[in-house]
Amino acid sequence: MNYILRRLLRAMLLLVGVSALCFLFTEMAPGSFFDEMRLNPQISPETIAALRSSYGLDQPLAVRYARWVNAALRADLGYSIAYNAPVAPLLWSRAKNTLLLTTCALAITWLISVPLGVWAASRRGGLVDRAVTLASSFVISVPELVIAVGLLALVVRWRILPVGGMMSADSDALSMLAKLKDVARHLALPAFILILCETSIIVRHVRASVLEVLGATYVQAARGLGMSQSRLLFRHVLPVAANPAISLLGFSLAGLLSGSLIVEVVCGWPGLGPLILEATLSRDLYLVIGGIMFSALFMIGGNFVADMMLIVVDPRIRKEGVDAR
């Protein structure tokens, strides 16, 4: 129980830290949303000053941060200057799409990586192992952006999948099932890119941790007692190998999120990625901070879920605080 509380507290602290850093960095970044207005001779400096103060931007950093935190606690993340709308609902409508993309990608990544990694490790040096190692090192060495653009070009040329957005223009007329199918077809390309990039990393980690456990003395000992290879792999090795792999789950979520920002922009998926990019380019302060906070929230949430899973899987963590007999 203590462990869960500690993890929660840590998650909170992280959020506070991220938000504070966000404020600091956006403050230090050159330029502001009003720079263009200043160049416009028809807008008087007084108007700009009034606008600034109406958004609270004339206050010192600390005051702004305190106000923001205070509001954020009530789910109010400030006001977007560019969209002229509250940030939170704006972000939420986009975040749902990012969540859809990343959770799909995450689930499929793990469904592929774990069996593949275990298979490669259990036949070390075999055909599968060498193929997995080679393919994953190839994918890892190519930047995500290049893969995304390359696959996009292929898809556009071959017209196999729709590109851009998350539904077709006429989707309102479709039945529920057809609508779902339509979304899935739009989702396929960005998800595939993410899965490809992420799987190539995760599969290597799974393989490595299974290999390490396979070499452990207790696995040798279990062999000496006549355990079959499959029982050994799934009952004795995988639960131990799961520990580093699950810790990786939180980590992989981070990778997926940062990857999804790029992939969303390239594939035109209406998630947080394009929104944050736009907001950054136009220096739409609260939208940038809100977007980053959302990403951080996902990431921390993912890590928290991973931690909880560790409790289930690893008795050494579960018992913490209880003395050895």
Binding site: N2, L5, R6, L9, E320, G321, D323
Partner: protein, 299 residues
């Protein structure tokens, strides 16, 4: 608490349970430990805290050139005493007098001049070092830390070579990685490393444990030879009473974080008082009896 124990026992005992044994009545004690206590707090910032008394009020003293052995089952607090004396750990209470100076509460900077006088060797000491280190680097490391690795390349190699010869290693192996050394050779390396700073006190924490009997005998002899050659003082930590009884002048028996019995090795072996001592001796005695029964030799 030590005095509590003492009152429970006949006063005319020559072994002084729990109390300080006067290792050397002439008073030239190199090390004198008074009321040493150390607690560990298990758990972290937000974890339930459990206080574990690792050592409670330990007293002992060692005369220069002599050996005091602390024996006890694992978990009885021996290693904690060792680490406090070597000041790898800070004691919670008590004094650690090294030639009259209390080092128990010195800061790490104030400790620096004392560090070279007290060196520690533990089980698998070399294993915990970077395996790519050569023997030369491993032996010279403490000199570097103390900024005493002076002289040109040849002088330094000569110095390390002499140390290697002293512990029975061939100087030809100076450039071999330490991972190529066998268990016994690694323990010799650890000794050379400890000797590099010409210490007066060596704290040997299970330094013979985990070695083959034939290697144990070699290293034990080496320790005895080095002691004679350099007037070294040893604090010897072991779970094997029978083994250290042949190496120590004085034996202290630890149980549950306390020194429950102290006395000259001869007396501890021939006339054990405390139950913990008797138990430690019993296992050695049964083995000896089996040995004697089977070989026909007198026990």
């Amino acid at each position: 608490m030590g005095s509590n124990l003492a009152t429970n026992l006949p006063a005319n005992l020559s072994n002084s349970p729990g109390g300080a044994f006067r290792g050397d009545l002439s008073g030239v004690n190199l090390l004198r430990v008074i009321g040493l206590s150390k607690q560990y707090v298990r758990g972290g910032l937000w974890k339930k805290r459990v206080q574990v008394a690792a050592v409670t009020s330990a007293h002992f003293e060692i005369a220069r050139g002599q050996t005091l052995a602390l024996v006890g089952v694992s978990g009885s607090g021996k290693s904690t005493v060792a680490r406090c004396v070597a000041r790898i750990e800070s004691p919670d209470a008590g004094q650690i007098l090294v030639q009259g100076t209390d080092i128990a509460r010195l800061s790490s900077r104030e400790l620096l001049p004392f560090r070279s006088g007290i060196q520690m060797v533990f089980q698998d000491a070399v294993m915990s070092m970077n395996p790519c280190f050569s023997a030369l680097e491993a032996i010279e490391e403490p000199l570097r830390i103390q900024r005493k690795a002076i002289g040109n390349r040849q002088e330094r190699r000569d110095r390390v070579g002499r140390l290697m010869i002293e512990v029975g290693l061939s100087p030809d192996w100076m450039d071999r990685p330490i991972s190529n050394f066998s268990g016994g050779q690694r323990q010799r390396l650890a000794l050379a490393r400890a000797l590099a700073l010409r210490p007066r006190l060596l704290v040997l924490d299970e330094a013979l444990t985990g070695l083959d009997v034939s290697t144990q005998a070699q290293i034990a002899n080496l320790l005895l030879d080095l002691q004679a050659a350099h007037q070294l003082t040893y604090l010897l930590i072991s779970h094997d009473l029978a083994l250290v009884a042949r190496m120590a002048n004085v034996i202290g028996v630890m149980a549950g974080g306390r020194i429950v019995e102290t006395g000259p090795a001869e007396q501890i072996v021939s006339n054990p008082m405390h139950a913990a001592t008797k138990q430690l001796l019993a296992s050695a005695k049964t083995t000896a009896a089996k040995f004697a029964a089977i070989t026909g030799a007198p026990s």
